[in-house]
Amino acid sequence: MIVAAVVLIALLPAADVEFDAGTKAIFAAKCAGCHGKAGGLDLSSAAALLKGGASGPAIVPGFAAKSLLIDKIVTGQMPPGKMPKLKDAEIDQVRAWINQQKAMPVVEVAQVREQDARAVIQARCVMCHGGLRKEGGLDLRTVASRLKGGKSGPALVPGKPEESLMYKRIANGTMPPDAMAKELAVELPTEAETEKIKAWIAAGAPEPQAVAVASDAKVAPDAAKFWSLIPPQRGKVPANGEKNPVDAFVVAKLQEKGLKLAPEADKLSLMRRVYLDLTGLPPTKADITAYMNDKAPGAYERLVDKLLASPHYGERWGQHWLDLAGYADSEGFGQDDGVRPFAWRYRDYVIRALNADKPYSEFLTEQIAGDELSNDWRSAKTASQQMVDRLAATGFLRTVPDPTNSNERGLLAERMNVVADEVEVLASSVMGMTVGCARCHNHKYDPIPQRDYYRLSSILQAAYDPYEWRSPNKREQALGLEAEWKKYQEHNAPLEAEAKAVKAEIEKLLEPVRKETGKKDREILRENAELREQIEPLQKKQQEIRRKMLPPPHVRILADNEEPSQHYLLRRGDPVGFGDPVDAGVLTVFEQVPGLAKYEAKAPYAGTSGRRLGLAKWLTQPNHPLTARVAVNQMWMRHFGRGIVPSVANFGRTGVAPSNQPLLDWLAVEFVESGWKMKAMHKLMVTSKAYRQTSKVDESVLKADPENALVSRMPMRRMDADTLFDSLASAAGYLDATAFGKPADVTVTADKEVIVKPGPKGYRRNIYVLHRRQTPVSLMDSFDQPPMTPNCTERRQSNVATQALHMMNGSITWDLAQYMAGRVIDESEGDRAKVVENVYLRAYARYPKPEEVKLGVAAIADFRKGWPVKLEDTNTAAPRAATAEWMAVANYCHAILNSAEFSFID
């Protein structure tokens, strides 16, 4: 039987301290409506204030600044919403009253339970005395193991704190030892925490109580009666003659406003749009010619099929997914912003999965719990691509900035931040929920009690155990393809031999001195300058050799600790503000969703908890109210520029309601019932008339549908950073289409501009460029490439002067303009009119009009006149005239690449 121990540290009725008249009136007027005698927190007496509510005591007598009550008031959290706030003078009055209560007896009625003591032990002790390490043979995690103790004997003598080593050593300051605490980023226990351990022992060291079951009154019984929590139903497709259901729903909505679809965009505008949308690359001249010549019905649909089958599809849509995941190639901290070697395996997994049209349900499951699908990877070293991929998929929840490789930055608070960021990634990208609020308090608008935040967070905390933490470089699995191991060995073997030789040289110098003096190496080197001068260059050489070595092939993974710690609700998000213990689970409001199976964590094999696998199973239920809706809405936003739910990461009460819910729900059901196939959804969307509309708009339509919520046209859009970079390189014929693997490096110029290093074949696509958080490529940064903090659910589109400066004056565009000029001159056999045509095809994917040819030819002639003067002092082997023509065409290309038509998509 589980025994609940109740220990009273101090039980005194608070002397009946009176409020002053002003304070009393303020509470009565502004607070009593909710915080009367009936509620959780009662503000009707001083004693009740001290007792407090779910977040602990409301005041600290004598210290207004430390009182939760004041905190809530001055931060504007209370009174909530539109209720009248306290005036400054009123706040001062309450402050003054609290400050006067220095003599008020502190009343603390505390039930000391095992879990309260364990919380302290977890925060301060288990890094050394837990599941991963057992210093001195001691494991402090359970009552039994405390009784058993370690090399120094039992740690616990129930009822006798002064005889219990686990209390004595903390109280006398020997535990945790300073040096160890620093190395493992553990902070010293506070006095209050030490007291908790003492009180628990004094109470006879009771066993833990069962964790309270989640269901309680915190979620209103009708909380799930909100549109996004009711599973979608496939409604009837409106019978308005439209063949594509997408159009039928869109037209029905337009008709309500007396609007209709806009005319179809012209053939080449549409071609450019769908190319950039599905592959992120513009069509080539050959593509354009072939498409123009395809006069048979269904040419557009065939084009869409071709693009969806293109390997570039996965690169384009992979980037969208990487935005959601918050992918970057570096840790994000420290002067060196440490690169994450092999992070790219996750990027490659995403691209391959999308190109293979892996069902979204499987795609999600692998990313949330790829490690729990099978344990074959644990014993393997050489692996198939499939095994590597399934494991690399867990990189989805390994993306956020993580400073904890440094012990100075590995404190509990920072570990908790890593977990919180991953929860944020998961919730915003997959669930469309804003859970972050509930980290510190119950969500004010959505039915998410704070406890539920920690239930959700506990799912990840089996792997991201904040108490027995693994730093990022300890979350790697040595695993790779056979070819990778071979390359690694072949590359490193000679270097290792070289390093061994250098080491031998050093030994030869040191060994005799060691023997002679019996001193340690460091001491010898400090004292013996001559020897130091000989050895230092050798050590440098050693380092250089080591730098040249390749890291062993590995996969960055997320996998559980074998025995995860107990988790707690953390009051106000404070990492040591331990409230009640919580079990892993999803938000309890979903228990109200009819027909939805409950979350269940079942270990698929020994050594893992199955919590994440349970989450994946729960999320990918066909009737889940959010998963499919959020996914199709994301796709819709990327295609149409605006989500059906415009707040793509917030399907809650503070989000924006769907502009066309029947459409959203029909798509969501269709998505699930057609096997969660993403390519089918793309095809449905981009072959609709709605997608094929022109972006031209007139005043009446603009008035009737100002934000294009009804899809009365296609929005004109500026290219995002990736599309811009890839299109520039592609137009210039300087795109290296090599897929996958190690990213292309970036370099910082003398001017501190960050630019991409082209390879021998040109620039790789932006998705294959190193994305280091602290050195984003300047051009991309100015075009709103998001800093991953932690992720990006929707890109912003700004138009600012720095973009113009980079495009006009930067080296990348000018270099590319010259490449482009070379290509078009070669293609055009000296005919300037043809040059203009080829430039238009490359940059705008259309043929120029006669007046545009005229303008272009004249411009080139004009540019040509400006070059001979300049070329007088260039030392070029090529004939000057040819160079001048080349440069003139480069000017022309440069202007075209800088024109609005290039960077905007009709």
Partner: protein, 472 residues
Amino acid sequence: MPSSRREFFSRLTDGLHGAALAALAAPAVTFGNGGGSPVFDLKPKAPHFPGKAKAVIHLFMNGGPSQVDLFDPKPTLNRLAGTAPSRELSFAISNGKEAGTIMPSPYTFKKHGKSGIELSSALPHLAECVDDIAVIRSMYGEHANHEPALFLMHSGRTIASRPSIGSWVTYGLGSENQNLPAYVVLDDPKGLPINGISNWQSAWLPPIYQGTRFRTEGAPVLNLQPRAEIPTPLVEAERNLISKLDAAHRGSRPYQPELDARISSYELAARMQMAASDALDLNQESEATREAYGLNDEATRSYGKRCLMARRLVERGVRFVQLYIESQIFDSHGDLKNSLDYACGKTDKPIAALLKDLKQRGLLDSTLVMYGGEFGRLPMSQGPVKSAGRDHGPNGFSIWMAGGGVKGGTVYGATDDLGFKAVENTVSVHDFHATMLHLLGMNHRDLALERHGLKERLTDQFPARVVKEILV
């Protein structure tokens, strides 16, 4: 008149466009009372209430200046010199093996000015300006490491990825000069501070609010000047061609405001080339001014130039200017006196010149100058006696503010007898941020951005108090 002088310059560089903008100040950015969706541009915005400060110059002192050697005299250190520190104090040092004993300051403190504020002999020039500054001696931070402490000071949290103070200010107030960036960073050519460009990031605020680095040497902005290899007339010819192409493109696509915005951005880029070069041309300054800022002396030249540039920028209506100094110059882990002599030797004279110059031009009343690092230092020694320094101390440190509505000649708050912890009238970094916003006419609770269902603020959800005691 200060405002007219600033207005004079912004008219000068903006032409009619700028004057019209100034007259049509947009409504205040506020979400405290359920305001509408925010406008993301740099047009001047009305504050929440009239604020004294129109611009901010943030003199960030990288490394953590030692309060007990500069601003916070502690005679007790002399009395306890050489004695062992408490466990709490010795645990505060990062490497326990380096923990030494209580160490007095190598400098002497003296009262200065009418206010009689005590300053150390390391700051002789600032001593002449004490009646214009308010020293807060009771600051406290949250972390003893540079990175998180810098993040805290710059963005209100110890983590990466939140908008910086300059981004919040320009988001709230826009800029009075449309030809220059609203938020300018003058970093040291010798190297970026810790956390690099993250210190002036806009994070999830739009990138227009990101700090723009103006370099002290060469072209002030990345790619500001046309490529040298393209003949100048051809640069013009390219621009003309782009204008023609864009006009035709725009003409056949009515009602697309994005296209207008893009055309304006290209025009601004061209204007910026002129305006930025002019703003940073220090040859326009008199010899006396150059001398006062220390431009004729090797030790003070680099920082002096940045101080002078800062004045020229705020004079032209730039909203927020941030100055940095050699990566961690105040990080005095060893050789305390030499280290501080070096750091103060580079900065003391130019900073005093800046204060005097702003005052003399009538700009100090409307320009908030803020001086401080990411934390302070410990009262005990670190490392071997001969070359001892002090380790990081986030629990109590000093900063000062001047101008823009700050009551000069004020000292606020106190640390304990050792200068280890702030104990009296303590001021958190959030309080400091709230005070800065208040001086600019903004309520820290109302300057917010709705994001993922949260009202994000510079002060986040933390309690924060305006330090009214240092205001005029």
